[in-house]
């Protein structure tokens, strides 16, 4: 009898563990769209609209630049961002969100099943390839309107004509904020269908005639194509400002020497939180997420590339890439000059010399970041920037000098303005002017002579 009770206990435990594996869990990280939250439609190549689509929120494209069909399409509560900084940042944030969904572990694999006719509770659902919706998909929020549904689809998402999603037990809200569709290639919403959630597609998103989307159509690389649709994002639409992280560059450091610099952010509503979103700080340095202070004592020499991202309370972000060179102990501070170079002009030979000091000669010069004006080159031995500029504009770059012991020094923000026009100053008097003046002088002389009877 006792043995029987123990078996029942084991069976019960196994059943609980098993159920825990089968029932989707909603205990996964919340997905943040960052600045992409302000976009109802965001494309990678183009956004094309036909008919009187009604879009609530921003419409944007990046790195492409073509947004067409507005009007007759109408954008309210936002504006059109064609390959501007806002759209670029939104694409960056979209990629982050896309990857976050893609990294979420699956609770249930629905591969091969039609979404139509299913009733699902919050969780992470996966399709290894394509997903289809024919008929009605029911999503049961179980009384929590903020519950999360993540759908990870390996390739395409296609909904049939007149298909739709019904939201159950969601407190009356018809607009779930945490419903994401991560689509490995393209999504197509059928004619007259209704759909909910944020579609994060690697390629394109097509809303065929009359399809309605309570959510966002966010395509990373391809086009967003609309045809007489309504697209209305759920949740607050935050129009993110452009957040700038400063300073533009950080000074280099030396192993064992305390380092203390502060990065700040402007453009959004503070307070900001700071994080390293890419790369790594030099070993021994830490970024204070609240203050933006980078402090510590570098432990090893080297070149360190990293990106600092500032996030405001609304989730809007701004980033800046930095590079810090940590010199070995004994490396002196090497400085370069001049910080300002005179302007040049197209076709006019240009020559300026960068000099380095503070280290052990000879120095080797390189363009560390940015680019010289087309037609100019830097002599690595002499530091002479010379040549005939071929294009106009303002060219900013960073020059690095490395001394005989391998100790580096840099100067950033060096710029050369190249004038677009090298106009030849016309003659003071052209042939006609010279002829006229010659005649007039002769006539004037004769006139004066006559006046005085000479």
């Amino acid at each position: 009898m006792k043995r029987l009770n123990m078996n029942r206990t084991y069976i019960g435990l196994i059943a609980i563990v098993g159920l825990a594996g089968l029932v989707p869990s909603s205990a996964f990280a919340q997905i943040s769209l960052g600045t992409a939250q302000g976009f109802a439609a965001l494309g990678g190549s183009t956004v094309t609209n036909t008919g009187t689509s009604a879009i609530t929120g921003n419409v944007g494209v990046s790195p492409g630049s073509s947004v067409t069909g507005f009007p007759p399409g109408v954008v309210t509560g936002g504006s059109i961002h064609a390959n501007d900084a806002v759209a670029g940042q939104a694409q960056t944030d979209l990629t982050t969100a896309y990857n976050a969904v893609a990294a979420s572990p699956c609770n249930v694999d629905l591969s091969g099943q039609d979404l139509g006719g299913l009733t699902l509770t919050p969780g992470v659902y996966c399709y290894s390839t394509s997903a289809f919706l024919t008929g009605t998909l029911r999503l049961d929020f179980q009384g929590n309107p903020n519950a999360s549904f993540l759908f990870k689809i390996g390739s395409t998402l296609t909904t049939a004509s007149a298909s739709g999603i019904v939201l159950l037990n969601n407190g009356g809200s018809n607009c779930p904020q945490n419903l994401f569709w991560q689509v490995g290639s393209s999504a197509t919403l059928g004619t007259g269908s209704t759909f909910n959630g944020n579609i994060l597609a690697l390629s394109s998103i097509t809303l065929t005639t009359g399809a309605g989307l309570s959510g966002r159509a966010l395509a990373r690389n391809g086009a967003v194509t609309l045809d007489t649709n309504s697209v209305s994002p759920c949740g607050p639409i935050i129009i993110c400002p452009t957040i700038t992280v400063n300073p533009p560059s950080l000074p280099n450091g030396v192993v064992g020497t305390p380092y203390n610099q502060i990065v700040t952010a402007t453009g959004g509503a503070g307070p900001f939180t700071f994080s390293i979103s890419a790369g790594n700080l030099p070993n021994g340095l830490l970024l204070n997420g609240a203050t933006g202070a980078i402090t510590g004592s570098p432990l090893a020499p080297g070149m360190f590339n990293f990106t600092v991202t500032a996030t405001d309370p609304s989730g809007c972000t701004g980033s800046r890439a930095y590079q810090i060179i940590i010199a070995a102990i004994g490396c002196p501070a090497i400085s370069l000059s001049p910080a300002v170079l005179p302007p040049g002009s197209i076709g006019v030979f240009y020559s300026q010399t960068m000099t380095a000091s503070g280290g052990v000669a000879p120095y080797t010069f390189t363009v560390f970041a940015g680019a010289l004006p087309t037609g100019l080159s830097l002599n690595s031995i002499t530091g002479v920037i010379s040549g005939s500029p071929q294009g106009s504009g303002l060219f900013s770059f960073t020059i690095q000098a490395t001394d005989a012991n391998g100790c580096p020094g840099r100067i950033s923000g060096v710029s050369i303005g190249i004038a677009a026009i090298a106009a030849a100053g016309g003659p003071t008097l052209n042939i006609a002017g010279l002829t006229i003046l010659t005649v007039l002088l002769a006539v004037a002389g004769l006139f004066v002579m006559k006046r005085f009877s000479i």
Binding site: A422, A424, G425, A444, V448, S453
Partner: protein, 172 residues
């Protein structure tokens, strides 16, 4: 048949004017003169024009005969330096019947005035090129040529009026 007396000085003036013009142009056309006088003078004109422009606007510099800023560049070439206009005026002054002293005074005043005016011309044209590119050519071809011609004629008439060698009959 001799040429009537009142006509002779006028023919002499026109002839001297023509000869002086040809002589001046021949000298200026010599390569050594061009290389060692005209080109350095043109460089000086470009530098002075840039300096004049920097009174009202920074960021203008010169490289050789090129005035330049990040937005515009102007190459001051032979013919843009005011030398030809000064030569015309100088030829007229030398040809005109006046004392040597008067002629030297005239040459000095005329040359300086024309060159100063040319500095203003180049500075203003550069400024127009930077800020009002559309009207640059109009000022370049029409306005400043007219002003230079007007200035040269005015200088010559004023000078000749004051310094002409008046015949005794005039004072009777």
């Amino acid at each position: 048949m001799k040429t009537p007396r009142p006509l002779r000085p006028r023919i002499v003036f026109v002839t001297k004017f023509g000869v002086a013009l040809i002589g001046f142009y021949a000298v200026v056309a010599l390569n050594p003169v061009n290389d060692h006088v005209i080109v350095p003078f043109t460089v000086l004109v470009a530098r002075c024009s840039s300096a004049l422009l920097r009174v009202v606007e920074g960021g203008v510099g010169t490289v050789g005969t090129v005035m330049r800023s990040p937005r515009f560049a102007l190459d001051v070439r032979n013919g843009c330096n005011g030398v030809e206009a000064a030569i015309l005026l100088a030829a007229a002054i030398l040809a005109f019947p006046a004392s040597l002293r008067s002629r030297l005074i005239g040459l000095g005043i005329a040359s300086v005035a024309i060159e100063l005016l040319n500095l203003v011309r180049l500075s203003s044209l550069f400024w127009l090129g930077e800020h009002h590119r559309r009207i640059f050519d109009f000022f370049h071809v029409a306005v400043w040529q007219s002003l230079i011609i007007l200035a040269a004629i005015s200088i010559f008439i004023l000078w000749s009026w004051k310094f002409a060698e008046k015949p005794l009959v005039e004072s009777r």
